[in-house]
Amino acid sequence: MNSSLSVSTMTTNPASDSSCGPGPRAWLPPLLWGLAAGLSAAGATAVFVLTKLPLPARAALVIVPVAFCLGYVACVVRLFRQVDELQRRIQLESLGFAFPATAVLVMAVDLLEQAGVIPAVRWGWSGLVTAMCLLWLTGWVFACRRYR
């Protein structure tokens, strides 16, 4: 088989068409799963606060947002497997920044609380997830700029 033919007929990955990272459409499934997870978690929290469901029903209700979260994780992993090697490197660097940066942020806030410098901060899962996402985006922007 002609080697140049085999290379030239390779299809372009639709998830990696944009100049920096996967195209916007590729992010739609994880975005929708994440949104569903967030909304169902908020809904479950509202139900816990506003109603007096029996314990088994409350426990069962927790399954809904967790299932959406697992769908989100599966979508993100599948997306990372679709993108090309540079995009994967960029994501690795972004997450490599976001993961320890979140730990440092949480530790710093906790120490400031203990020192009495700031009032007690109740992060909750939503605050922590927001911080992680913002740090991931920050790392992404810097990694994209590095390979521009």
């Binding site: 085999s6 030239s8 990955n13 920096c20 090697e85 540079l86 995009q87 390979y147 521009r148």
Partner: protein, 65 residues
């Protein structure tokens, strides 16, 4: 790692997007390799070599950033 990708591409009058399509990678990846900000993996280097019908060591050489 130094490379001749930009020269080889220009000799064929291909845009970065054209080359990216032929290699199945993003345009940003082609640009990052050409500007020597990113060294391609061995499989991608082989694909580049096959596409330009040159030995890998003729396209990529040690040194540079």
């Amino acid at each position: 790692m130094k490379n001749q990708l930009r020269e080889l591409r220009a000799a064929r009058d291909w845009s970065q997007g054209d080359l990216a399509d032929k290699l199945g990678v993003s345009r940003q990846t082609v640009n990052a390799i050409e500007t020597e900000k990113y060294d391609p993996s061995l499989p991608l280097a082989f694909r580049i070599a096959r596409l330009f019908k040159r030995p890998i060591e003729e396209i990529f050489a040690e040194g540079g950033s």
